[in-house]
Amino acid sequence: MNPYLVPGLIVVILVTVGIGVYGLRFARTTSDFLVASRSVSPAWNAAAISGEYLSAASFLGVAGLILRYGVDVLWYPVGFAAGYLALLLFVAAPLRRSGAFTLPDFCQVRLGSPLLRGLASVFVVFIGCLYLVPQLQGAGLTFTTVTGGSYAWGALLVGVVVTANVALGGMRAITFVQAFQYWLKLTALAVPVIFLALQWQSDGRPPVTPEAGATFQVATTVVIEQDATVDGIPVEKGQQLTFAAGDPVPPVSTVDARFSADWLLPGDDGTLFATYSLILATFLGTMGLPHVLVRFYTNPDGASARRTTLVVLGLVGTFYLLPTLYGVLGRIYTPQLLMTGRTDAVVLLLPEAALGGGHLGRLLGALVTAGALAAFLSTSSGLLTSVAGVVFTDVLRAGRSGSIRDFRLATVLAACLPVLLSLYVSNMDVSRVVGLAFAVAASSFCPLLVLGIWWRRLTDVGAIAGVLAGGGASMAAVLITVLGPPLHGWPADAVGQPAAWTVPLAFLVMVVGSLLTSRRVPADVGATMLRLHAPEALRV
């Protein structure tokens, strides 16, 4: 095993816990725990939002998908970044001015309906859990890849560290932890990529897609772990296959990937629905993610919320330039992943595969693994904080009298379900599960926020109907995808990437429902609109 690995991971955990404990000195009241007393500067805030957002899906999953499917999945990083533009254009400043802390709070402020508030709480918990699962899954995968230990221990370890950190320090500490983790993640991908590019140059620029498809760089022996068909020939469990350097990587029946040179080019018409569905989910889903929204309440005013979002767009966009390079270089240096199907591990394995097992390769390998750990820790901390916030307010009903002890109880409650789920779904693509969480967010909270902020005639009945229709449909699609039998033909597309029909459905039902119940428009809608849109300067 890589000798730099354990010290690297211990440093990341120690610094995370250390900053958490340091932050604890400032956390005195409930508000310190939940919104950092609104005294965080835009630069810190933007780095913290980016640190929180760049999850296991971005750090490991995107590169893995690119290695597997090629140019079609570049829409994942583009969409993950573009989501912040949609957030900036339609939501950032008015949401901050609404003065609400969580999505259920926004529902209460805008429409004053306890029923809608309860429904929103259910969706926050569902989306939060759905998004926490792939983080823990990524942690388990990393643990298996780098130590050879069991998947479950990796997932449990990260789950416990995150729960302890959130329960002890809350968000005040999390802000600094996450700002640190953004820069760690960026460094962990950017520094190795320089060496990888130099290595590629000195290897005489091997082509990404040779005529014969992906090939092995060095002689490789593969042990078959389950019955399958390799290159048309049936193989059995326990059998060993040896490939010489320069041999093409054979297609394996149990792994879905693109092997030939068409990997470089966009797919045919069949993928068009899935592509647009993905674009819709990622562009509009970001604004509905609970851990993203809660961050905006830590800005001092609407204008700074806008500027913070712009900085976030820059930071996130810079980061997403890197996973693509890992995916492409992985095609050259780690083609065996196309056989095993563990493409999510490409970022972790690439440094040692390309630079050899010397000190440089191992050091960079440890750096990348440390970055991956930071990715799980930061995103899961943010998610857990916001889910725990909702459990604290709307499930435990701890209002004014809510103590920090109740918040800690809420944190532990919120952590249980995702940890259990992550042990169950160990074999799904990390980015795919995240894509599903985006689809649910885009079909429930996106219409609620956009119409709530910009359309006076929205009513509580319309909003509830829209969230139930769009969010319910996408939630059902997610449950079928994760738990149900495999589907074929057009139902597979419609259920696997539901956003293209659930988002329009949610908007439609919400608008029609509101128009039908126009007498229920809140009486104070004028005052609410003024509060959402008027600059703070007018309030003094």
Binding site: T30, S31, L34, V35, S37, R38, S39, V71, L74, W75, P77, V78, A81, A82, L85, A86, L88, L89, F90, A93, G99, A100, F101, D105, Q108, V109, R117, L264, L265, P266, D268, L272, Y276, I279, P300, R306, R307, T309, L310, L313, G314, G317, T318, Y320, L321, T324, G389, F392, T393, G399, G402, W454, G526, L530, R531, H533, A534, P535, L538, R539
Partner: protein, 138 residues
């Protein structure tokens, strides 16, 4: 009680550091807006005040929709373009296929540019609104 009400007074030295404010989660839902004269005037100026706010909301929404349309046309048309005209996807620029260059590299500065333009124009809209409200008082 509003979120912005200072409960703990700022430090005695006049507070170069940002003031700590105390906010309590459960109250965000239950609280009423503070009785604030300038805002109340604006809120209660029935037809005129309402029209002013509607104007601001409309201006901001039009700006956001216009920029969103730019993104939808520029990025949203790409999958269709690649599907309808596969020849375009096969074009190489500097040795890299066009789709990789457009999506993997150029889309990010484009998104940031649109965001920058929005922040600039949205703030100008707000300043125009403030100027409009404050003019009668001068």
């Amino acid at each position: 009680m509003a979120a912005d009400d200072p409960i703990e007074p700022s430090s005695a030295d006049g507070g170069a550091a940002p003031r700590r404010t105390r906010v309590v989660l459960g109250e965000a839902a239950a609280r009423r807006r503070p009785a604030d004269r300038a805002r109340a005037d604006l809120a209660e100026q029935t037809p005129v005040g309402e029209a002013l706010v509607k104007g601001l909301v409309r201006a901001q929404l039009a700006l956001a929709l216009r920029l969103a349309l730019v993104v939808v046309i520029a990025l949203g048309a790409l999958p269709l373009l690649f599907a309808v005209a596969p020849g375009v996807a096969g074009v190489k620029v500097l040795g890299v296929y066009l789709p990789w260059l457009l999506l993997g590299l150029l889309s990010f500065p484009f998104l940031i540019g649109v965001g920058w333009a929005y922040v600039r124009w949205a703030e100008r809209n707000e300043q125009d609104f403030i100027a409009l409200i404050r003019r009668p008082e001068q």
